[in-house]
Amino acid sequence: MNNIINEIREKARQLLAEGKVDVVIGYEKGSLPLKATPCFVHSPEGVDSLIWDETCENNLAAYAAKTPGKKAIITKGCDSRALAVLLQENQLVRDDLFIIGVSCSGVIDQRNILAEVGEILEAKISDGKISVKGMEGDKEYLFAEVKDATCQTCRYPNPVMEDLHIGETIEVAQDAPAFADVVALEEKSASDRQDYFKEQMSKCIRCYACRNACPLCYCQECFVDCNSPRWLTGGVNRAENLFFQAGRVLHLAGRCVDCGACTRACPQGVDIRALNRKMTKDVYVMYNHEAGIGEEGKPALNEYTTNDPEQFLVKE
Amino acid sequence: MQQNPYIPITMKLVKNLVETEDRLINTFTLEFLNKQDEENFKYMPGQFAELSAYGHGEAPFGIATSPTEPGILKFSVAKVGCVSNALHLLEEGTMVGVRGPMGNYYPLEKFKGKNVVIIGGGFAFTTLRALAKYMLDDKHRGDYGDITVIYGARNPGLLLYKEELAEWENNPNINLVTTIDRPAEGWTKHVGFIPSITEQIAPSSVDTYAVVCGPPAMIKFTLPVLEKLNFTPETIYTSLEMRMKCGLGICGRCNIGTEYVCKDGPVFSMAQLKELPNEY
């Protein structure tokens, strides 16, 4: 890890000193244990705050289009997929981007830790182990035990596009996506599924952290904010919340890169990803498409081919 | 308990008049349904009210009538958003909601014994009309010195209250100067932008207050002219626009620094504005 951090800092220093970029977007140590926070480094003197570890959970591609000038971005596999979709949708200029790729073995999901040890007072990560001192007790975890659910099914830990790679790459099996989590949900009865989503949607407070953390939710005016026509009310209840979440997922059909940023951003622990994953599977099954796995190509629904399935048009 | 300030009174739309030739501004004449509502609605020129188009929402508009015109309220409203569009489409006779009066008003007490120069551009003339109308009223005219109105629009068809302007032309109690941006057929009065016309007219700043309302660009270029004429920031007033919802200084969106435009404004002197952050 330390070598990776040193290399990141060195490269950032070089890019800024040579004037190749105006800003390096990376991570620095956050104010809370096990939290990294996005940081914007504008001068070579600032690079020593940059870090890299299993707490770097934000998808920095969300800042790419909103940050003016030329920028270098520390990019994980999923972040690179988001950048690829943004490029495919002409939201970014490739020449303004310098992608510092880092392979990622996953990020930590704090939720289970918090549930067990209470507020975290101190934490240490070393050798794949996370030792935590909490208000309600201490515990040591294996990284695999607290790895974010998204990362457990990740097939693209290595950046799909980059200008420079730092550290080693991670071997991944080249098999087709399995979607075991989606299948498990699909196999539940309709009423069980309904109960599940009712519970999830009742937690949503419509703070739009999911939308704003998403690198691909970039609409100038989100459908939830539109007042003529007014698609949904400000009512915070299951029906309205589901309408928002389902609407967002449909807008991401064929575009969602399954980075999990929305679910991690949610302060209420809504399982947003369950909807996204189902939609990702459907797009894969229907179009044999995975979003943003290369710089070329178009999102599945931005393109028409004569082979496209039409089950949704004609019900047999 | 005081009356619930969120509940509008119901008023009848008795006239929905297309005011400008681009058909973007209509003047609504609303009639009080009973004496009690009118009694409760004591207002002064410069104040505004929230108009409800039921089914669409409510939005704030300056009151274009003066309290010297009993029984009714008038609003001249540009078609810009969902509420104003809905209001434009209302049939005469429809009931609408009115919440108000809200905000402060032009400092008519201070104006007493002084000359007043009213400078307005475009459709921001509504509460200025109320102000002039109030001072011109027989009961009040004696309280003020010379009243000068400099009013401009892009072309003659965009001037508001044309009949009234025609009447003021021949009224010895008021000095009316109208102008349009570019020459137009049949137009015999001034041609030019407000700032340069103001410079030409050169109203004296001695014992005089100025009230300026209009698009930001007009205000920006008129202020230096007034300064040249020796108006001080304390003698120049304007009325600000802001996105508003509650109108009560609670919902939090219309503040400029510590001041809520809906409650502490919309009328501010330039001296007051100089003390506030430049965020409007």
């Binding site: 953390a213 | 919902c251 969106r253």
Partner: protein
């Protein structure tokens, strides 16, 4: 004076038929304030709720009025319905937050009837904090984990009993319902003293923040401060003092309701004019508003800071914007000579 938890529970249960009783409970998502029917449902050991209890006076979504159109006519009806309410287990930071909200919902000209009808018909039973989270920083604002401001009655947990402090007249009336009060033992008194003298470990220095901010509207500090903020509403919604709202209409055919819903200064549309002009059209302006409002404008208007140090915004922020660091940054920012 103290009351055993058993006796308190009996008194609590006896109040349920007369009042809507709100208390902390454990749900799928952590601790939440909810209506309860019995003291046995109440979560005893908790830091604080995930969302502040302000929603009981200022709901996230609230009907202001309803109307019905018939032809050109309309009938309008107020939708203000309020029950007598007891809020139990409110932490001192949140109780103080209510006092700050009182200053917003009543100003020199208007009183918000929806807020105050509920506020006036409620009694707040505060519960002092026995445990202090690392993100708690209420002591920065002259408050304390056992502060009584905003509570009508303050309880201090002594294990199997509560120490009872009556703070207001309203509290006195309710406390009359508690029976079998007894004196504290010396040991218990020592515990009470200890809890009352506790301070949060985390503190920010706000002594000069307001006067510093007076001079900082045009500071370059704001340029970089907000870069990582993603502009969501988590901090506002989880803040006990944030109170901005929107008013809109919900329509079904010829009937409708006018509602108010929480809004936030972080939303770009919050200040967008009909003309398209937006006085706060960038994140920098919006963050400046957020900080200025809490630590400068509010102080000038109400004589207090609009932050109670509950730490919710710190815990919930998806990008770890830490308000303590932001205040610290403002304190340290160099002033530019204009």
């Amino acid at each position: 004076m103290k009351i055993s938890k058993e006796k308190f529970g009996q008194a609590f249960d006896a109040l349920v038929p007369e009042y809507q009783v709100i208390a902390p409970v454990s749900d799928a998502n952590g601790i939440a304030f909810k209506g309860v029917k019995s003291f046995s449902e109440v979560k005893q050991d908790y830091l604080n709720s995930k969302l502040p209890p302000k929603a009981f006076f200022f709901p996230q979504h609230e009907k202001l009025m309803s109307y019905k159109k018939e032809g050109k006519d309309v009938t309008v009806k107020s939708e203000l319905k309020v029950e007598d309410t007891i809020l139990f287990g409110i932490r001192p930071c949140d109780a103080k937050g209510m006092q700050l909200l009182d200053m917003v919902f009543k100003n020199d000209q208007y009183t918000d009837p929806y807020y105050f009808e509920r506020r006036d018909k409620s009694v707040i039973i505060g519960l002092a904090c026995s445990k202090i989270a690392p993100t708690c920083f209420c002591s920065s604002f002259g408050m304390s984990p056992a502060g009584s401001e905003g509570s009508d009655i303050l309880l201090i947990d002594l294990g199997d009993s509560y120490e009872v402090e009556v703070i207001t007249e309203k509290g006195k009336a309710l406390a009359a319902r508690f029976e079998a009060l007894s004196d504290l033992s010396a040991e218990e008194q020592a515990l009470v003293d200890k809890i009352k003298s506790a301070e949060t470990a985390s503190k920010v220095d706000v002594a000069n923040t307001t006067s510093k901010l007076d001079k900082m509207f045009n500071s370059p500090f704001w340029d970089t401060l907000q870069e990582k903020c993603i502009g969501c509403n988590v901090c506002s919604f989880s803040c006990p003092t944030c109170h901005c709202f929107d008013i809109s209409e919900e329509v079904r055919k010829n009937e409708g309701t006018r509602v108010r819903t929480w809004d936030a200064c972080m939303a770009p549309l919050f200040t967008l004019h009909g003309s398209g002009h937006n006085p706060r059209d960038n994140k920098k302006a919006r963050w400046r508003q957020r900080l200025m409002h809490k630590f400068n404008y509010f102080v000038h208007n109400n004589g207090a800071m609009a932050c109670v140090g509950c730490g919710r915004c710190i815990k919930s922020c998806p990008v770890n914007m830490d308000i303590r660091q932001v205040i610290d940054g403002a304190n340290k920012a160099e002033l530019v000579v204009e």
